[in-house]
């Protein structure tokens, strides 16, 4: 915030500096314009002073020798005219280009008449009485009206040319005018310097305006950016406010999803359980059927005596008891018991094998048990049993699916490690990292939900505080042939409380 204020201050400072530069330049330019005009006026006035002296002398001379009608006097006295003209010629130089005397015979016309001409160039020398039409008639007429000398600049000529007109007043009337056209080209350097300064100031003003606009432009950009930044900060703050709510919502969603997954998994296990019960029941049911058949046969042959009937009914009762105990085992196994108990790996494995071992053996799969752990865990037995069952069922599925020769499932326990391995070919490297992801399955859709391993990992790691991992192993069988397989390892904490 402090940094932002600092930047804003600097921006304002730059704006003010640019404005001061601009105002300063304009002020200096204005002063210069006045000074420049003053220098030029002073320069002109200095020349005018000199010219005024000359023309005053000429006018006095003419007044001395002429009557009120100068034209007539000069017409009659050619000698006087030549003499006066010679004196005008003396003043004619490159600087004072034209020196001449005119009168205005008809005041209603814009025409003057040459009386004397100081021109030395014969081509430009006017004749006595020659009519002459000036260009700046208004200025010329002003002399006659105001009876005062005037000068004016020639705006149509690039060099600094001026015309000075002095009236010759006799008896209160303007009888003639003395005109001098002169150049200030000898002051060209001053004018040039002033013009150069003028141009420099103009460029400086343009540059100052440009700088001001550039600074204003960048200030605008900067302000806009700051505003955008502020808006984004507000958005972030608002987002942060709602983020916690969103996280809570997402956590709740995940929890619900997990519950759904558990439910799905449980349903899948239920299906498996029914399959297993059916398998477990098949043999006793066959035996019951055979026994009841034997009873029927003996009864028809009248060979069913009391002892035989008791013996066979006891058998049927025993088989029914076996069926009942099977149901109890399954009910116990899948009971949603959430109580922690002290238990060993070996007890867990035996409990699992009591319901699945028969099924495995019937599928010609060799089951190897290396149970060497006496470690007691304080954990959720039913949940871990479900995981072990899931791992064994997975191994069984792989062995059957890959039609492995000499299929073997090995269950090993040692200390706090329980592993279930098989020789089904192992887990391909490209999927081994994804094997615990939900809905990931290598089985056909019909057989696999893709939830078994995900749920197993969740149970072991999140519920029981342990670890479930998978790796590939190579084992060597009796014929010294190497067999690839997968090994799933459960590692529980010793003091799980």
């Amino acid at each position: 915030m402090i940094e932002k204020l600092k930047i804003k201050k600097i921006t304002y400072l730059f704006n003010i500096i640019a404005l001061i530069i601009l105002v300063g330049t304009v002020a200096i330019y204005t002063v210069f314009q006045d000074t420049s005009g003053f220098i030029q006026d002073t320069n002109i006035k200095a020349n005018i002073g000199y010219i005024d002296n000359i023309t005053t002398n000429i006018a006095n001379r003419i007044k001395d020798v002429s009557s009120a009608n100068i034209y007539e006097t000069l017409k009659k006295n050619k000698k006087l005219k030549d003499e006066l003209e010679s004196s005008l010629e003396l003043f004619t130089t490159n600087k004072y280009r034209y020196v001449y005397l005119l009168d205005r015979p008809d005041k209603s016309k814009d025409t003057y008449r040459f009386l004397l001409d100081g021109a030395t160039n014969i081509d430009d020398k006017s004749e006595f009485g020659e009519e002459y039409t000036p260009l700046n008639m208004k200025e010329w007429n002003k002399v006659c009206q105001e009876k005062k000398p005037i000068y004016f600049k020639h705006t149509d000529v690039k060099s600094l040319w001026l015309t000075y007109i002095k009236p010759i007043i006799i008896d209160g009337e303007v009888k003639a005018v003395i005109v001098i056209d002169f150049s200030l080209s000898d002051h060209k350097k001053i004018i040039k310097s002033l013009n150069m300064l003028d141009k420099t100031f103009e460029i400086a003003i343009v540059f100052a305006v440009f700088i001001l606009f550039v600074i204003l432009f960048f200030s605008y950009i900067d302000n806009k950016r700051s505003k955008d930044l502020e808006d984004k900060n507000i958005q972030i703050q608002n987002f942060n406010k709602t983020l916690q709510e969103k996280i809570d919502q997402e956590v709740e969603k995940n929890r619900q999803k997990d519950q759904q997954l558990f439910q799905q998994s449980r349903l899948a296990q239920m299906g498996e359980m029914i399959g297993m019960i059916a398998h477990q029941w098949r043999q006793p049911l066959t035996a019951i059927s055979a026994t009841s058949g034997a009873i029927n046969m003996k009864a028809q042959l009248n060979k069913l005596n009391k002892e035989t009937a008791i013996e066979l009914s006891d058998k049927i009762s025993s088989y029914a008891q076996h069926l009942s105990s099977t149901i109890d085992d399954f009910r116990e196994f899948f009971k949603p018991n959430k109580e922690k108990k002290e238990i060993t790996y070996n007890e867990l494995v035996k409990s699992v094998l009591s319901i699945i071992e028969e099924s495995i053996k019937n599928k010609n799969i060799t089951l190897v048990k290396e149970l060497n752990s006496d470690t007691i865990f304080y954990t959720y037995p039913n949940e871990i049993k479900q995981v072990i069952l899931n791992l064994i069922k997975n191994a069984e599925d792989v062995l059957l699916e890959n039609k492995v020769k000499d299929p073997t499932i090995t269950i090993t326990t040692k200390d706090n490690i329980l592993s279930v391995s098989d020789n089904g070919g192992g887990v391909p490297k490209d999927i081994i990292k994804k094997i615990f992801d939900p809905y990931f399955s290598t089985k056909t859709k019909k057989d696999g939900t893709g939830l078994g391993l995900y749920m197993s990992k969740t149970i072991i790691e999140e519920h029981c505080g342990g670890n479930l991992s998978v790796s590939n192993i190579t084992t060597v069988n009796e014929d010294s042939k190497s067999l690839d397989g997968a090994v799933f390892t459960i590692k529980l904490g010793v003091n799980n409380d």
Partner: protein, 137 residues
């Protein structure tokens, strides 16, 4: 090279500025008095170098078929045949000294001067347009 060409062009433009001014003036004045175009002109003055650039004028080598004669500095040497034609002068002296000069255009003290003589124009049955009457005497 480019700069040199630009400078040369500018110099040419400046030196021709006054010529253009004179040509425009002649193109305005003479056709307003002599109605037929192109106007057949005889002149011994340098003005022919300017007038030849206009399609309004036909510069002749003799006075015989000329409608108007423009006289310059050497106006005293022109033939009688030329003297009888309407004359337009490029100097005050030519304008003043010739009876048949009906008008003139020349520079005096750096200012352009244009003059007309109504009596001469009438003699040749020529009329001055209203816009130029203020220059007539």
């Amino acid at each position: 090279m480019k700069k040199i060409l630009i400078i040369l062009f500018l110099l040419y433009s400046i030196t021709n500025a006054s010529d253009n001014y004179e040509l425009k003036l002649y193109e305005k004045v003479l056709p307003s008095i002599f109605k037929q175009l192109p106007i057949k002109i005889y002149t011994d003055d340098d003005i022919k170098d300017i007038l030849k650039h206009s399609n309004k004028f036909d510069i002749l080598s003799t006075c015989t078929d000329a409608v108007v004669v423009i006289i310059g500095k050497n106006f005293e040497n022109i033939s009688q045949e030329c003297k009888n034609k309407p004359i337009f002068a490029t100097s005050y002296r030519g304008f003043k000294n010739y009876q048949n000069s009906f008008g003139a255009f020349y520079w005096r003290k750096g200012r352009p001067q244009i003059k007309f003589k109504l009596s001469v124009l009438e003699r040749y049955n020529l009329r001055l347009p209203n816009s130029l009457e203020k220059y007539a005497k």
